[in-house]
Amino acid sequence: MHKSPTYDQTPEATAPLSQTWQSPPGFVSWFTHVNQRQIGYRFVVTSLIFFALAGVLALIMRLQLIAPENTLLGADFYNQLFTMHGTTMMFFFAVPAMEGLGIYLVPLMIGTRDMSFPRLNAFGYYVYLIAGVSLFVALFLGMAPAAGWFSYVPLANIAFSPGKGMDFWTSMITFIEISALAAAVELIVTILKQRAPGMTLNRMPLFVWSILVMSFMILFAMPTVMAGSVLLALDRAFDMQFFVASGGGDPLLWQHLFWFFGHPEVYIIMVPALGIISTVIATFTRKPVFGYTALVLALVATGFVSFGLWVHHMFTTGLPHLGLSFFTAAGAMIAIPSGVQVFCWIASLWGTRIRFATPMLFVLGFFAIFIIGGLTGVMVASIPFDTQVHDSYFVVAHLHYVLIGGAVFPFFAGLYYWYPKMTGRLMSERLGKWSFALIFIGTNLTFFPMHQLGLEGMPRRIYTYLEGMGWGDLNFAITLAAFVLAAGFLLTLINAVISRTRGAEAGDNPWQADTLEWAATSPPQNYNFRHLPVVNSRHPLWDEADLTRRQYVKGLRADRRELLVTTLLEAQPQSVLIMPGPSIWPFLLALVVGFGFLGFMFQPLLFVVGFALSFFAITGWLWPRKPWISTKEN
């Protein structure tokens, strides 16, 4: 380690390093990229595209519900729409978006050059892409799944959903969770083993903590939905009867498996969002967030308790009341860590002079919307009340308050906040504030009246309702409001596209933030950091604002991809890791595995073919290289 006055960023000095870490240009080479920033960026952009698509599906649904007995859409198409809306938002937007942010930011925030398994990272992205595109192709072919994003059996089983739609669902859900698990493993190892020297766990940024908690949650939650969807696929393809009551199976087994994943899923999405909130508040108040330890413990507690809540979704299935009571208690318990976090943030905001830039506005919007969602969440944790509002529009209102407030607002805050780091340019503040206003107003106008509709007895997932029910006027207003909300989202997307070329130059640290990603250039160089930084506090850029006084690691070779591995707790330097470079094999493996999963729907034997082909791809992937040879000689 050196005190480094020779931190030379001139092109001549960095050229060899840059070349080593470069992703080759060109269309074909695009499929060989493995660098964490490219993959993270692709995750974020792709997830935003799925977000927009799922949003459009929601708008079409709202048009159908604008009036009673409307005949704009048929029942089957409507059912496909809400199934795809839920599936896309949960599996193809929210989780990949948060993973994408994590993949892009974590290595920068902990001061390293790449993730631990770059090719696995790329593989995960292609799996995600193939799964999402396949489902939307199915929708355009008119054979999308139509049994809801939760696919309750027996409705989702072969007897009642004989078409290919459900096969798409079971295959692609199993498939995309491979991507989620790959990202989780990757993020955990990177966070635990690649932190910059001196970044003890106790100095890790709160956002990195939240990604760590999220990754562990993915590790425990996703396997159950994979197990569930594999069992369902076997039921459908080979008549295995896992979920068929007359064959000795149990339809409720599906619900247990699904919600054991499904409830933590909500927190998998929310936990990183909470990390974003802490990050943005610290930056825009220019002081550390109050209660670092409390906030970390709250994240971990949320992660744990969220696995004890799944029966919330099954209060009306006739399970014994005593058993259900524990889940009411757990549901109330999870409000405590949320309370701790909210009041830590309020304490942090107390009496500070705040810069009301767009990210901060989205954070303030989060408070109002998320708290309403949290309060209705405590209400539906009460069993008697839940029996009245379960599967009604009250729950539609509740879940959108939680997910828009608890995930979309923070995600958008993060988008405005890190966009300059990713692109080198700031997003327009003017458009940003308009977008925020429309989204905030639109969310409330769209979803608040749904509480009322639910209390008036309107069930969820109905493609139409009779005129005499008296739900028409509220639904009419909600549909109009949905377009206000959509306009708000559209403004941000437009803003992101326009600012890419026309935004103001950001500089390295436009917000004067404290974490390491702002020490890199905007956008970061191929190698992230010329010299890996050494960290002495939780707020490296505030405590050592003077560039020349910072400490750096020296001695990593510039002619091949090398990383520093550090110890788990104290982040003491341990060894040097030699990383693989660009490779086409992750893409090819994703293709053949995807072929196996998609082929399975039409002919089970094709799964075996995909399995066999994946051996070739894995062989290519693992083909020995000479790691001691530098890239140039390769």
């Binding site: 604008i66 009036a67 007995e69 005949t71 029942a75 089957d76 059912n79 027996p154 409705l155 009642f160 009551a245 149990d250 339809p251 409720l252 109050f290 209660g291 009306t316 299935t317 006739g318 009341h321 009571s325 009411t328 409000a335 405590i336 701790v340 976090q341 909210v342 009041f343 309020i346 304490a347 905001l349 107390w350 009496g351 705040i354 109002a368 708290i371 309403i372 309060l375 405590v378 009460s382 009340f385 029996t387 509002v389 379960h390 599967d391 209390l455 008036e456 007895g457 997932r461 109905i462 139409t464 309702y465 009779l466 005129e467 005499g468 028409g472 006027d473 509220l474 009419f476 207003a477």
Partner: protein, 351 residues
């Protein structure tokens, strides 16, 4: 207090409604124009409870609502004050003050509120989930895609009367309901009488309530059950016990023998064209795929509370069931106008 609030809320809603154009007219795409079942006055609002169970849940709702409103306003006020406070001069909270603030507002107060809420909700839940009193009327409801089969049981568990999509119950006497499914998961929900309970294949669930006011209450399937989940509703008619007993005795009887020529010919048409799926007790029509139609003419609605029961709707439904409820199991029946008239005449006798 709660009545007042509910009145204020509903007057607000209706005020909002007056300002809006009629959605249906604006879009001009209405299929079932007029005469739908819901217009008979049967609503399904949880805020107009008519049973002891639904009333106590409504009370729980108002308590939670006002507690929630108070908490929300308090947090928002704290947040606003936190932001306002440092506008001109920075005056952040000290470490100890922050700690106490978080412990009090973020841990102690929520814990207290939640303990009260969880305790109250569990006690209420226990009373609602308890077994029904022994003098309860026994009814078995079976969910089918997409209609409800309703069977009245005697104390030995034998079926005394079968009907569909319309359930009559006595006022002020407990009604115990056995819930089963014939195909996929459905959920039995009559918001004004009781919260929902799912009907799960392979399981027998139960629910019970005591209706406290005579009236008509609409129920609707609350678990997504496929294509026509939206049009799977039914009507509950609560009436004084004597009236109910008379109704039940009548429903238990077989269908009357038709007396007019037209009705007699209509019975033949029915036995030939409808009897494979539908049953009319006392005739050769013994199908079990569709609803029992023994007392069809006494029912208020058709097609699972989608249409009011009148001759026009009945003719339209028989002529093309797939237009009103695409995907349901009833095929289009091709009948000559003469046969159709006779059939309608016969069905009209099934009081």
């Amino acid at each position: 207090m709660k009545r007042q609030t509910s009145r204020i809320l509903s007057s607000l809603t209706s005020a909002a409604r007056q300002g809006l154009p009629d959605g249906c007219g604006l879009i001009g795409l209405c299929l079932l124009s007029g005469g739908t079942a819901a217009q008979q006055g049967a609503r399904q609002s949880t805020l107009q409870p008519a049973s002891t169970q639904a009333q106590s849940i409504e009370l729980l709702w108002w308590i939670m609502l006002w507690a929630g409103v108070a908490i929300f306003l308090a947090v928002m006020a704290l947040l606003a004050w936190a932001l306002w406070h440092g506008r001109h001069r920075e005056s952040p909270l000290g470490l100890t003050a922050s700690k106490n603030f978080v412990l009090l507002a973020g841990v102690a107060i929520p814990a207290l509120v939640l303990v009260i809420l969880v305790g109250g909700s569990l006690l209420l839940g226990r009373s609602i989930a308890s077994t029904p009193p022994p003098d309860a009327i026994q009814v078995r409801v079976t969910g089918w895609m997409w209609w409800w089969e309703i069977e009245y049981l005697d104390s030995a568990g034998n079926v005394t009367a079968t009907t569909a999509n319309e359930m009559h119950v006595p006022v002020d006497r407990p009604v115990a309901i056995e819930l089963v499914s014939g195909d996929v998961i459905h959920s039995f929900w009559v918001p004004q009488l009781q919260g929902k309970t799912d009907m799960v294949p392979g399981k027998v669930n139960s629910s019970w309530f005591v209706a406290t006011e005579a009236g008509q209450y609409r129920g609707q399937c609350a678990e997504f059950c496929g294509l026509q989940h939206a049009l799977m509703a039914f009507v509950v008619v609560a009436r004084p016990e004597a009236e109910f007993n008379a109704w039940l005795a009548h429903q238990a009887e077989p269908a009357p023998t038709p007396t007019t020529d037209a009705a007699q010919q209509g019975l033949e048409v029915f036995e030939q064209s409808c009897g494979q799926c539908h049953r009319v007790r006392g005739t050769r029509a013994v199908g079990v795929i569709g609803p029992d139609l023994t007392h069809l003419a006494s029912r208020r609605t058709l097609a699972a509370a989608t249409l009011t029961n009148n001759q026009g709707h009945l003719a339209g439904w028989i002529g093309d069931p797939q237009r009103v409820k695409p995907g349901n199991k009833m095929p289009r029946t091709l009948l000559s106008p003469q046969d159709m008239n006779n059939l309608l005449a016969y069905l009209g006798t099934l009081e």
